[in-house]
């Protein structure tokens, strides 16, 4: 058709398009989907409301803009105050004294305390109390504008105590420490002891590692301190909430990726495509398992606190004080030290001296050779 035949085109298009039947199932599925999404879809009403009233639309837009600006500006203004609160909380968690079973943080009116993984609203009085899964931040409901915080802190607590006990009580103290751990819901992770005898003039020493639920750690420290004479008590707590949350987030993200890849795999028809997706899935699964192992370890470390107790029998002096030296003894030692220093000095200067001697010898040889050559030339000329 060199000229365009409109009627023919209409017929041809109709025939091309009407070649297949339209099924009703597709319409039913559209209706079902519309019913499912329709119950919660308020947007048409809101849009109709906005369209009806132009002023209202402008007002709503202005209000929305104000909310966005406030949402951005308030955290910026409070960022400095928030940082100081973080420091306070970190200090509170970082130094745990044996007697402190509870740490209390007071929020200043109008400020927001922001910590790792949790937020405490204005006028809040937050209480950090030990729980089975770590320290939980609880905010009283009566606080105005205070948002409920249910994020739990993950704190890893460890401690070391050096105990000195009477000679006859060494074994009984070890048993007592084991009892403390089991009573507090924990267990003995390891124990090591050396029994001394009077015949060999040795003293009994030993160490025991106790693990108890984190909430009973302070109580255990207190009990152990009074089981003998505590010569040193060191406890520390590390906040690993950030690490914990980060691991969880990474695991979640990888799980989402895995689900996506599984969906892709169901739609992949070619063998190459399936193998490629399978490789990705294997890699993701491996990463998930690694992160899960780290998370489990962290979970275990924060669930149980570790206390290492070093035991020593009374009278066992590890460090002997130095005896004051007498005059002759001192002179003899000084003499020996001087001799050794002299030998050291000789050895130290031997290297540079040897170098200087070799250099001089080389210069002498060169000078002699030059002198002889000069003399020979003079003799030849004359």
């Amino acid at each position: 058709m060199t000229t365009f035949d409109e009627e023919m085109m209409k017929r041809a298009l109709r025939e091309a398009a009407d070649d297949f039947a339209i099924s009703d199932t597709a319409m039913e599925s559209i209706l079902d989907e519309a019913r499912d999404s329709g119950a919660s879809d308020e947007s048409p009403r809101i849009r109709a409301f906005i369209q009806r009233n132009g002023r209202t639309r402008s007002t709503l837009l202005a209000v929305a803009a104000c909310v966005v600006v406030l949402a951005v500006a308030v955290p910026l203004f409070n960022s400095e105050g928030g940082a100081s609160k973080n420091r306070t909380l970190t200090n509170a968690q970082g130094v745990v004294t044996p007697n402190s079973a509870k740490t209390v943080a007071h929020g200043v009116s109008g400020e927001t305390i922001t910590g790792t993984g949790f937020t405490i609203g204005a006028n809040a009085q937050a209480t950090l109390s030990p729980t089975s899964t770590g320290l939980t931040v609880k905010v009283p409901k009566s606080s105005s504008n205070a948002s409920t915080v249910d994020s739990s802190l993950r704190v890893e607590e460890v401690g070391t105590i050096h105990l000195t006990v009477g000679g006859t009580h060494f074994q009984s103290t070890l048993t007592q420490l084991t009892d403390f751990a089991t009573t507090d819901g924990g267990f003995v992770a390891s124990t090591q002891s050396h029994m001394g005898t009077k015949a060999t003039h040795s003293y009994s020493t030993g160490s025991i590692v106790l693990q108890v639920p984190e909430r009973n750690f302070t109580m255990l420290v207190d009990q152990v301190r009074h089981a003998g004479v505590a010569t040193s008590v060191v406890t520390s707590a590390t906040d690993v909430t950030g690490q914990y949350v980060d691991l969880q987030a990474r695991i979640n993200a990888l799980q989402v990726s895995r689900t996506q890849y599984l969906k892709i795999m169901t739609r992949t028809n070619s063998i190459g495509g399936i193998l490629s997706v399978q490789n990705q899935l294997n890699s993701i699964q491996s990463q998930i398992e690694q992160l899960q192992a780290q998370l489990n370890l962290l979970n275990s470390e924060t669930t149980y606190a570790t206390l290492t107790v070093s035991l020593r029998e009374a009278g066992n002096q590890v460090v002997t004080p130095a005896h004051p030296a007498t005059g002759i003894d001192k002179a003899w030692h000084d003499s020996l030290r001087g001799f050794a220093t002299g030998v050291e000095w000789l050895i130290r200067i031997a290297g540079p001296l040897l170098f200087m001697i070799l250099l001089l010898a080389a210069l002498l040889l060169i000078g002699r050779w030059t002198w002889r050559a000069t003399e020979r030339r003079r003799g030849g000329i004359s």
């Binding site: 058709m1 365009f4 023919m8 041809a12 298009l13 398009a17 297949f20 559209i30 999404s37």
Partner: protein, 182 residues
């Protein structure tokens, strides 16, 4: 307006316009599965934004506008990134109809010629000669001036008139079919 009423309204829309929308989308996109996807998406979108249909305005161009926009979106974003289905994919459906050879030949030729047109020309041809919309309505559907529609139609006609598939096959096939029909 309750949700039940809304869904009834959607059902009316579907009964009135689903089949023609799928066929229009089929001509624009060139294959049936994509056309059905596009129309399903279009109806849900149209129903969601049903309040944007101004009172008193014509429903048909508005619905076609949503369908054409969805088809355009598919042509731009989705279809170029995969192997394009050929019209042969739908031959199973056509094989059951009366006089399959003549109709398949003509359908194939028309689809070939349409596929070779640029999308913006193909759309106006389909809307004009299949959906039977006026130039004014096509202008509403594609969101352009009527003058633009006119020039696009002219350009499309010129290209179709010169297309080898329609040039060689069309007169004979039409005559043959006319004879067969009589």
């Amino acid at each position: 307006m309750s949700d039940a009423v809304d869904v009834d309204e959607l059902q009316t829309w579907l009964e009135d316009g689903y089949a023609s929308s799928v066929r229009t989308a089929y001509l624009i996109l060139g294959n049936r599965p994509d056309a059905e996807d596009a129309v399903q998406e279009s109806f849900l979108r149209a129903w969601k934004f049903r309040d944007s249909l101004a009172t008193g305005s014509s429903f048909k161009p508005w619905l076609y506008r949503v369908v054409v926009n969805t088809c355009n979106s598919k042509l731009r974003k989705e279809i170029p990134h995969r192997n394009r289905r050929r019209p042969d994919d739908d031959l199973d459906d056509v094989a059951m109809i009366e006089d399959p050879i003549g109709r398949v030949t003509l359908s194939y030729d028309v689809m070939t010629a349409l596929r070779d047109l640029p999308a913006h020309l193909r759309i106006v041809v389909v809307l004009r000669y299949y959906a039977d919309l006026s130039e004014h309505d096509i202008a509403i559907v594609i969101g352009r001036q009527p003058g633009t529609v006119k020039s696009r139609l002219n350009e499309a006609r010129r290209r179709l008139a010169l297309h080898p598939a329609l040039q060689s096959e069309a007169p004979s096939s039409i005559n043959d079919r006319k004879e067969r029909q009589s």
